[in-house]
Assembly symmetry: C2
Homo-oligomer: 351 residues x 2
């Protein structure tokens, strides 16, 4: 037993160590990984309780919001971010898009045997920094290990809980004909950044992921027009086109977009041309689409532009009547075309 | 485009179909998988909102509880259960062990390309049935697909939210010297059932996993002695021994167990001998350990025995003073030994 004791007090080797099956077996090695890595990085009063769940103050407000994501982005490290911060931003944004203030995150890790502890620490520290910056505590978690070849480095599941302020009513089914469609900034950066890293492409101008938490932008928009913001959604997988089709279907309306109004960075446009991608279908991780009552659109747009995450916000179209739920777009060349759902595989494992 | 439309209305082929990368790309195929499988099986008013999160009534109570698990059990189907029901039971139990009434579950799926849709449906339907039986709604979810060889069939992340009734205070750090240690039934069945299937072993008497939701058992115990139940925990990975060591460490106490009082089914005992396992370290998925004030122990035990999930409940020891946090056990042969933390790999991917 003395040998076991000695092994237990030897700290984890974050330079050369690797994940082994013991780190997921619920015994001593698992406890050590939790205390020396996860608990140290995420430290807060709730996690410190050390139970199999977190006991939290019951928030006051109108509604409770819950959102969950499995994050499997490949590669794990990409220009402008990594799996760790993405896992926080993705779920914080899903909560925020319900009109809620994100409060707590739960995180579960599926680690592949043999994964370097140094890389895992980088991911966890990025996650901790993103949570701190967003003002959201990671209050509980779980760690599992799968054999080499049964996973792909690290997968992270995050679930967020938040509370909707009294009086706020936001949802994908609330768009009405005549409403304005607003976009918080340029599209396509995240998907192009991940894909360029995956394919080892280098562009003249570096393209970085836009991964960011958007809840303070949402708060500013709701403050500008509490009842006027009807739909909020972040155009992640499937991009802006898919998100607008979802909203149209949920609301039983159509949409009419103005292609010239949709901002795309020139380097993203060039990369998309090279890669054969349409920026409308490329994932974003730090942008949002809002549907607002026409009367409130200017106020909401002004609030967006006054926020660093919405500096390039613009109006990109309107909600129209259409029982078929089509999203149409006036093109730069003077035509009008249907912007369909993404049919094939655009970019797998983008988040 | 007409071809695409035709493909879209063709329902999923649950007999011969397989998961492909498109099912995770956020487009049309993903939407179809969600609507024809997940939304159909889990159907409830919150999921039906169709947003990227769920908007829920804010519960009334003392505290909010949040617990999360990544489920990677292998094999996915085992005697007495499968990944689907296990994912519900595991998280419902983590929430219940905080003294909370489980209310909502979020579920995220990581699917491996090529996985049969028929098996996925079996898992999802088992999950739906377990949630229905437990009276807990699966309110939001996410689906990702990874390439063949980058996953292992299906992984499920579940997060549970519940509410602690006013006045209930349960936590791993609350054990006090003199308290009674209660166990809700026999140990080792889940781990042995999974391992025997994994190793293709057949025993004369079938051993089935004990996977089950324990929240109604917890409710009965709390009703019997509202202030007397100090610690609740389900001895999953690492088994009873690890769970008791965790509680001892969190509480700064020791434990003294009576080996003869710990129920183990004869077929589990025999299988463990054959496999070289100690039942004390083998995972359970339908059992709980409770630490109770001595004065309330009889009332709590009676309440447990009156519940189908606690029919074989018994007192297995006491909390004692011990600054080192040792768990000791009086053996059947009249000796006393330390029941240490699990050091090596006992059973990976057991839940």
């Amino acid at each position: 037993m003395s040998e076991v004791k000695k092994a237990y007090v030897r700290p984890l080797d974050f330079r050369h160590g690797r994940i082994d099956m013991n780190h997921g077996a619920g015994g001593r090695a698992a406890a050590q990984l939790i205390s020396e890595l996860f608990a140290a990085a995420f430290d807060n009063e709730f996690l410190r309780q050390g139970d199999d769940g977190a006991s939290l103050p019951l928030p006051a407000g109108g509604r409770l919001v819950m959102a969950t994501d499995a994050h499997v982005v490949s590669p794990i490290f990409f220009p402008g971010g990594d799996l760790g911060c993405l896992a926080v931003h993705g779920t914080v944004n899903d909560v925020a898009m319900m009109g809620a203030t994100p409060l707590y995150l739960a995180a579960s890790f599926i680690l592949e045997e043999g994964y370097p502890l140094a890389d895992l620490r980088r991911i966890v520290e990025s996650m901790a920094a993103a949570a701190r910056e967003a003002g959201v505590a990671i209050v509980t978690g779980d760690t599992k290990v799968v054999e080499q070849g049964k996973g792909d480095g690290v997968f992270i599941g995050t679930t967020g809980v938040g509370v909707v302020p009294q009086g706020v009513q936001v949802g994908g089914a609330r768009a009405r004909p005549g409403d304005a469609v607003l976009l918080s900034g340029s599209i396509g950066e995240h998907g192009v950044a991940v894909l360029s890293k995956r394919e080892s492409l280098e562009f003249e101008t570096a393209i970085e992921s836009d991964t960011a938490a958007l809840h303070t932008l949402v708060a500013a928009m709701l403050a500008a027009a509490p009842g006027g913001v009807r739909v909020l959604r972040d155009p992640t997988r499937g991009g802006l086109a898919t998100t607008l089709n979802e909203i149209a279907r949920q609301s039983g309306t159509g949409m009419l977009l103005d292609e010239a109004a949709i901002p795309v960075l020139p380097q993203v446009e060039a990369a998309c041309e090279l890669l054969g991608l349409d920026p409308l279908y490329v994932a974003n991780e730090g942008k949002l689409v809002a549907v607002c009552a026409e009367a409130d659109a200017d106020a909401v747009l002004a609030a967006m532009r006054a926020h660093p995450r919405g500096a390039r916000a613009c109006r990109i179209g309107s909600v129209i009547e259409d029982a078929h739920g089509f999203v149409q777009m006036d093109t730069r060349f003077g035509g009008r075309r249907v912007v369909d759902w993404l049919s094939g595989e655009q970019l797998p494992r983008i988040c």
